[in-house]
Assembly symmetry: C2
Amino acid sequence: MAASAPSSSGNEPDPNSTNLRPPGSSYDAWCGVAHGCSRKLGMKICGFLQKNNNLEEKISSFKERSSKDLLDNSDRDSRFRRTETDFSNLFARDLLPAKNGEEPTMQFLLEVVDILTNYVRKTFDRSTKVLDFHHPHQLLEGMEGFNLELSDQPESLEQILVDCRDTLKYGVRTGHPRFFNQLSTGLDIIGLSGEWLTSTANTNMFTYEIAPVFVLMEQLTLKKMREIIGWPDGEGDGIFSPGGAISNMYSVMIARYKFFPEVKTKGMTAAPRLVLFTSEHVSLIQHSFPQQNRLHIQSHGVCLQGCVPMFVNATAGSTVYGAFDPIHEIADICEKYNMWLHVDGAWGGGLLMSRKHRHKLCGVERANSVTWNPHKMMGVPLQCSAILVRERGVLSGCNSMCAGYLFQPDKQYDVSYDTGDKAIQCGRHVDIFKFWLMWKAKGTIGFEQHIDKCLDLSHYLYTKIKGRKGYQMVFDGEPQHTNVCFWYLPPGIRDMPDGQEKREKLHKVAPKIKALMMESGTTMVGYQPQGDKVNFFRMVISNPAATRSDIDFLTDEIERLGQDL
Amino acid sequence: MAASAPSSSGNEPDPNSTNLRPPGSSYDAWCGVAHGCSRKLGMKICGFLQKNNNLEEKISSFKERSSKDLLDNSDRDSRFRRTETDFSNLFARDLLPAKNGEEPTMQFLLEVVDILTNYVRKTFDRSTKVLDFHHPHQLLEGMEGFNLELSDQPESLEQILVDCRDTLKYGVRTGHPRFFNQLSTGLDIIGLSGEWLTSTANTNMFTYEIAPVFVLMEQLTLKKMREIIGWPDGEGDGIFSPGGAISNMYSVMIARYKFFPEVKTKGMTAAPRLVLFTSEHVSLIQHSFPQQNRLHIQSHGVCLQGCVPMFVNATAGSTVYGAFDPIHEIADICEKYNMWLHVDGAWGGGLLMSRKHRHKLCGVERANSVTWNPHKMMGVPLQCSAILVRERGVLSGCNSMCAGYLFQPDKQYDVSYDTGDKAIQCGRHVDIFKFWLMWKAKGTIGFEQHIDKCLDLSHYLYTKIKGRKGYQMVFDGEPQHTNVCFWYLPPGIRDMPDGQEKREKLHKVAPKIKALMMESGTTMVGYQPQGDKVNFFRMVISNPAATRSDIDFLTDEIERLGQDL
């Protein structure tokens, strides 16, 4: 037996647990007793003991520092030089796993955390700018002390810390209460903690063997999501993927496999020419299917000779308008013609968490597959997207390779928990933990409150600008999601007669206001043209930090910056 | 103008910078002077001033605490109760952006960091176990205080902290010096810091507008990688993707687009039946092409009637054996028959950083595209994979949709920096920062040293066990990569005559030893069968924490656990 193998005797402290003091302390004795109690009670006692345990440690550490501080004033500088780390002579090679690397590693990580917590505080501070805009050439030329070029020789850890500060300084605060530019906004503190832990664990969702806890969390969370969709007992299948486009790609692949399984081995020649129907305003399905074989919903019924209609994508929350397709009506057609029904709820799926708004996805339980991105409306940090499938087995049927060098059926645990054969990836990032932790911390009702609040805010914006001078709505009626699409007409354009000249002028307004916004750094909102509609603002609200005052700020800012255009 | 818009007057402190003191302090005055100096000097002065600035702050904060501590001993408990946060009555809703949420947010994040830094310390401590194995049903039934189920109601932050501790406790320490189970191992402290920052920034690689710094870092890093591949002036294109399988999928898509661009709009009917050649032992290319249309390299020359050979995948570092295909010879064939040459260097690409080992990829500069995963051999945290393309423009030609609602050509900056139209994804996670930061911190030579060290270690293992009693190598000769594949024959099997019985017994040895290893938690190494070869161990070394003593530990452990099988 190797001399350095840890002992497995039961009386030794568990080397995997943190914050335990040496055996024999009152903490350990009491914790032993606590573990004999019922689970809930035992846990509470242990939590209490552990807290007080930490507390005592902190007290003594402070005591030490205090006495040094007050009793030995003359020596302060040298003492601080000793505890304060000089990073200018330290390099990556001095950190763990280097010999004696523990102390510099801890000091370095704490410095990084200091930078990050400062950033978090500023993110929520409305007197901080959303961004400090610079053009690409400016950043490439190098700002003071910030040089993006990579070199052969290492930089000191001091420079690395400067680089971290600068990276944040010249970036965009997507969690700022006045950042409205994307479908994914906000900085959830629990989600952030979850990501920090995920990157510290740095594992892979491939097998239970190397990600036991995360694999189970994924399984339970997917089941919960399927229950919320309305599939009986939450039965079915699913997986987290790197984003909505890839989740949608999964849906096309499994539908094709379901109808024409030989495609897996023989390629597309094993199937007739397949047709996919999708609504006009959808982005995420585009990459999975050639343009010509995509038909828009309003033209269904059209028959292409020799083609087989196979797949309908119903959009639940379109990117620009936030529109929801009528799922029940589409499901009727799919049943009649035996087509796969996919619901792309990348953006709108979150509304399923709200008793008030989930009716917008009415009929979703009839779908064969659903894309749902918690990283959008639910405020989970990017990336977090799920593809959910009603029928069990088709996901691994479609993607499995049963490669012996990837999965070993003769392992000691139940290998049905290995997820890799369902995925198109080998290494799969752990996207589940932050989401699971947020769900624990907020509860289902917490997500519901967040979603209801965002929809309330967009209702507030809609009613505020609907009849307001200078504003014109892009589509009629109350928005279904938080997307509020509008033109702002500066005074100089407002009274122009309708026509090409006005259109051309109006087309330039949103880009100009957006550019001024970014240069002043006060807020960010998206704009785009759509079909024959000239550039308009698309306001979306998924940011949990936003309030009515921020909505007011946005319209004030648009009016201020657009005044003289 | 909105009352709350921050002033943009030049004399005010920059609200985006951290750690600045109020104006008028000597720090600011001096920093102003420093900014007038040359870039390098100014930066150094500023760094020095900023450090001392922090130091002064820390001194006064300690002063405050110290005097309270010593001068008011009787009140200590109540004071500690005030600074010590009781998380049992706090919930996610009490954190930022909640009113008065700043203090609990900071306290909570610091508690999380305390858990994480403890975990990091233990990870590198050889007296800590690699894992604390439990079966799926055990974790699902719930360990003490650790319940994976999600509920409608929120849990307290105290419980959330317990959940974080338990998640790590029951997980696998992939950075442990004795974790050899995957191609991705290790816990790089700079990479970890980079991931923490990335998740704090929580943005998306889609446009320059929302990820200015990261987009430029990606561009510069890809150029550097292309230079290292050997493409003239580092010209070409590329993108970071969620993993090697998706990078390889990109290569197949762009090759198909290059030869048959109409596939993009008309689908596979616009192309003849395409054939792809790949080496036998490759995993990552599998999902992009139907099985029947994949031919193994050794059978090239075979002609399938009506098929067009289009694409050859040369593997640079196969998953199990770490074998490198002869790229020059394959490139000759590709040139002769006008086929796309892709080099899958997901695992072996890192060797390009080593002057000693890069000859194994000799000819890689003749490839049309290269997959290279820094998250494997280079120790970058998962996920970090690049697809590099020699010809500029073909990546966006293949994937662009030019959707007005995604990209606005009338933005104020040079929109050629927007990356989204190259990608098959919309939301794309920031995978670049940790890699860029590691490169800064280690330099090219740091990666080289890491790679040379890992290959030295595998050489050490190979020479150690090659002639050793009880060991048998799976393939002849020195391994090309760090993959060392071997059988361990317990004493009871060693002297059996060759034949089916011995094969059957030997087939069960590796799974049994692996199961015992996991149960004792001391180390982890992979095994698998391959073709007609029964289960063997595949040792791979990418872990920067591993030393010769850990290699010795592994063989000792295999012998200890396999002794009586």
